[in-house]
């Protein structure tokens, strides 16, 4: 529809983001719909996925490694040693006040030690050509690998968070995960040696061809010619026809690149959908629902509730991590400053609730519908405002003000949508369907 009204290019970019949103929503849906765990930290996992994309695809910055790589590696070693020592203390000694204090002392002194030992290295790295690099770079592998690595990163973080926070009551868990994701973003924003921070990483490698290359490739030009042969044959003049073809090739190339992305994302969505559907109807899925609906009963039946909660927390977060890496892949740039809880946590939750928690198709539908409305809310509300105020002259202050604030109607739309769904269809558009055979 947008393809017809606006352009195919915009339609496809909305479609791609819909696919990514659908993946994120599936991740959140696994946690909330299958197991009843609230995770308001989606933003943090998305950002980690994006970080993975950077670390995998960017070429390593040799100078920076020479300048400060050793210090960074030493700091990493120190962290590993610290964790091992703490684990050793936790295992060897009984729980007591002394143990708690000594662990706290180890952590504090360790952080100070790492700060002082890594400081010169970090400064040296950040001083290497700060306008272009100023960070360690990555491994220079194809960016598609980062989708897996992003999942691993996010899963790793989820393991730590889950160990720490999963024992909390539902609304505490929500707040704790929200705050932890803010900490993750703060670290990504300000550790320039790793991520370039707010200086952003741009020009990441692509899994799809570049528009400029396509425009000079013969088979692509022929393809465009074939598609538009009807339109082109109307034009008699040869020079005009060539110009029209060039225009079409330029348009076609960006559509083609977006189609490549859509294909890749579609594959991911379908694979995830098959896996999650299988999981939902497997004995494991039944167990998760049992745990969600009655924790004590499931516990009494000998199911390890804590372990399963942790597992599903990690799985869901890993899927969100994939989505984060996909997002950065499609944008081709990593901007830590753009990760805001409104867009990456609460909007995803609106998708989950609206689509239908516990239903994978519902999650995908929610991702599509909500993202489409989020993008198209401004044009729609502009149309509505113009329609209702048609009788009022253009110079009217109220009308001008309303038209100026059109971008904010999307918040209103989302909020009202969420409230209405919660009130009149609390299970979402596609409610959870459980077949009992």
């Amino acid at each position: 529809m947008v393809g017809i009204f606006q352009s195919w290019n915009i339609a496809l970019s909305i479609f791609n983001l819909c696919l990514i949103s659908a993946v994120m929503t599936m991740g959140a849906n696994i946690q909330w719909g299958y197991a009843g765990l609230i995770n308001f930290g989606i933003m943090g996992y998305t950002a980690l996925g994006g970080l993975a994309a950077v670390l995998i695809s960017v070429d390593p910055v040799q100078e920076a490694w020479r300048a400060g790589g050793f210090d960074i590696l030493m700091a990493l070693w120190l962290i590993v040693v610290m964790v091992l020592v703490i684990r050793f203390i936790l295992k060897r000694f009984e729980k007591s006040k002394i143990r708690t204090y000594s662990i706290a002392a180890i952590i504090i002194s360790g952080i100070l030690l790492i700060r002082f030992s890594a400081e010169p290295g970090i400064e040296a790295i950040e001083a290497v050509d700060p306008a272009k690099t100023g960070f360690l770079g990555g491994f220079g592998l194809p960016i598609v690998f980062s989708w897996i690595v992003g999942a691993l990163f996010a899963g790793g973080l989820a393991f730590i968070v889950g160990k720490v926070a999963l024992g909390l009551r539902a609304d505490y868990l929500a707040i704790a995960t929200l705050l932890i994701s803010e900490i993750v973003i703060a670290i990504i924003k300000h550790e320039d040696w790793l991520t370039r921070g707010v200086k952003n990483v741009i020009g990441l490698k692509r899994p799809a061809p570049y528009e400029v290359d396509l425009q000079t490739t013969d088979w692509f030009i022929n393809l465009v010619e074939k598609f538009n042969s009807g339109k082109l044959s109307v034009i008699e003049n040869l020079a005009d026809r060539q110009a029209a073809l060039n225009q079409l090739v330029i348009e076609g190339s960006s559509v083609f690149v977006k189609l490549c992305y859509s294909g890749l994302f579609l594959v991911v969505v379908i694979i995830l959908l098959i896996l999650t559907q299988k999981a939902l109807y497997s004995p494991w899925g039944r167990m998760m629902r049992a745990i969600r609906d009655n924790e004590e009963a499931a516990n009494a039946m000998g199911k390890n509730v804590v372990k399963q909660h942790l597992l599903i927390f990690i799985l869901g977060s890993a899927i969100v991590g994939i989505a984060g890496a996909m997002l950065v892949t499609q944008d081709g740039l990593f901007t830590p400053g753009s990760y805001r809880p409104m867009r990456y946590t609460f909007l995803i939750w609106v998708m989950v609730i609206v689509g239908g928690s516990g239903n994978n198709f519902g999650a995908i539908l929610g991702g599509f519908v909500v993202w489409f409305l989020w993008i198209e809310a401004a044009p729609i509300s502009l149309f509505l405002i113009n329609f209702f105020t048609a009788g009022i002259p253009e110079t009217n202050a109220l009308k001008a003000h309303l038209i100026e604030s059109v971008p904010y109607f999307r918040f209103l739309l989302m909020g009202l949508g969420l409230l209405f769904i919660m009130r009149y269809r609390p299970k979402g558009i596609l409610p959870e369907k459980i077949e009992i055979k």
Binding site: L178, E182, F411
Partner: protein
């Protein structure tokens, strides 16, 4: 003399800003904790409700300014706050009637309430941005400083200046008055006591003839007062920007939980705990040590524990630690 200089330095850069910021957080945290204790849900719309109240205050301030009304040295906003409060309370009651009431009657689980409050958050954010726009706005007028740094230096002959902004004094003064009134209300009056009883045990309270409608009404009224004043003070001291207010929700939550959620006194202190730890951990102590230590021991670096970029992260880490070791907060035991 150096020692006095060092003290003044800390007062100027740590103590007074932290006390002001802490007061602003404390008002928000009491708001969160009251809603949590009596209406029993975590209100994710906190920050945006505060920005709504501030917005109403700003609009009235502009109106008064256009009429030429002013309070002389004091900011005009003080005159506008009561009107802002009325608007805030009306808005809150409207939302309660159309949104929260239904779930209260359904006895929905707190998680559902939290989700609904996210819907309210979206709507409030939209309303604020549509009415006043997302831009950064200052609405402070009147005398800016009570003591200027230069005057203080001349007066005392010290090297370090102590600047005292009038907004800081107003914030601290208003907070003290408001919080003491609130505690007097909760502990001494009949309505306050019945609110406590309702928060302690809903069924028992209903059985002894406490009217739940009245309790809910009074809670929203108090919440409206706290939200508007807290938000307006923050806006006077810094500036008003809807996005900042949304972000402030996070340290406010941290303060409420650190203090023991459901416990207003804990929330009050929690605000200061968060504010002081944020500022203490991110302040560069180099100058302080230059005054205190002999010249030979002077530090080389900035002597900063964490860079200021991690300001928010500090308060969240404190929260995580508290949640781990004492999930019920520092002041546990008493509910409300």
């Amino acid at each position: 003399m150096d020692f006095v200089n060092a003290i003044i330095l800390l007062l100027n850069y740590i103590f007074i800003p932290a006390l002001t910021y802490g007061s602003q957080l404390a008002l928000g945290a009491i708001f969160v904790t009251l809603i949590y204790g009596i209406l029993r849900f975590a209100n994710f719309a906190t920050g945006d409700m505060m920005s709504f109240g501030t917005m109403a205050t700003i609009l009235f301030t502009w109106y008064f300014q256009s009429l030429g009304v002013s309070l002389g040295v004091l900011p005009t906003a003080l005159l506008a706050i009561p009107f802002g409060i009325i608007f805030m309370i009306l808005y809150m009651l409207l939302i309660d009637k159309f949104v929260f009431k239904y779930y209260r009657h359904q006895k929905s689980p707190p998680v559902q309430f939290a989700m609904v409050s996210i819907g309210v958050m979206f709507v409030t954010q939209a309303v604020v941005r549509i009415i006043i726009g997302p831009a950064d706005r200052r609405f402070f007028d009147g005398e800016k400083f009570i003591i200027k740094a230069r005057e203080f230096k001349e007066m005392t002959g010290l090297n370090e200046g102590l600047a005292l902004k009038s907004t800081q004094v107003i914030t601290i003064f208003v907070t003290i008055v408001l919080v003491s009134l609130l505690f007097w209300f909760l502990n001494r009056t009949k309505t306050g006591k019945s609110m406590k009883a309702y928060s302690d045990n809903e069924d028992l309270a209903l059985l002894s003839g406490i009217d739940p409608k009245k309790i809910v009404l009074v809670t929203w009224v108090i919440a409206g007062i706290l939200a508007t004043i807290g938000g307006a003070l923050y806006g006077l001291d810094k500036s008003f920007k809807p996005f900042t207010y949304f972000n402030n929700m996070l340290p406010i939550f941290a303060a409420a939980i650190v203090g023991g959620i459901g416990n207003p006194f804990g929330a009050f202190l929690g605000g200061y705990v968060i504010a002081f730890s944020e500022i203490l951990l991110t302040y560069a102590y180099k100058k302080f040590f230059m005054y205190v230590l002999p010249a030979s021991l002077e530090p080389e670096g900035l002597v900063q524990l964490l860079s200021t970029d991690y300001k928010f992260a500090v308060s969240f880490s404190i929260l995580v630690i508290v949640l781990l070791y004492r999930p019920s907060g520092i002041f546990k035991g008493k509910v409300l």
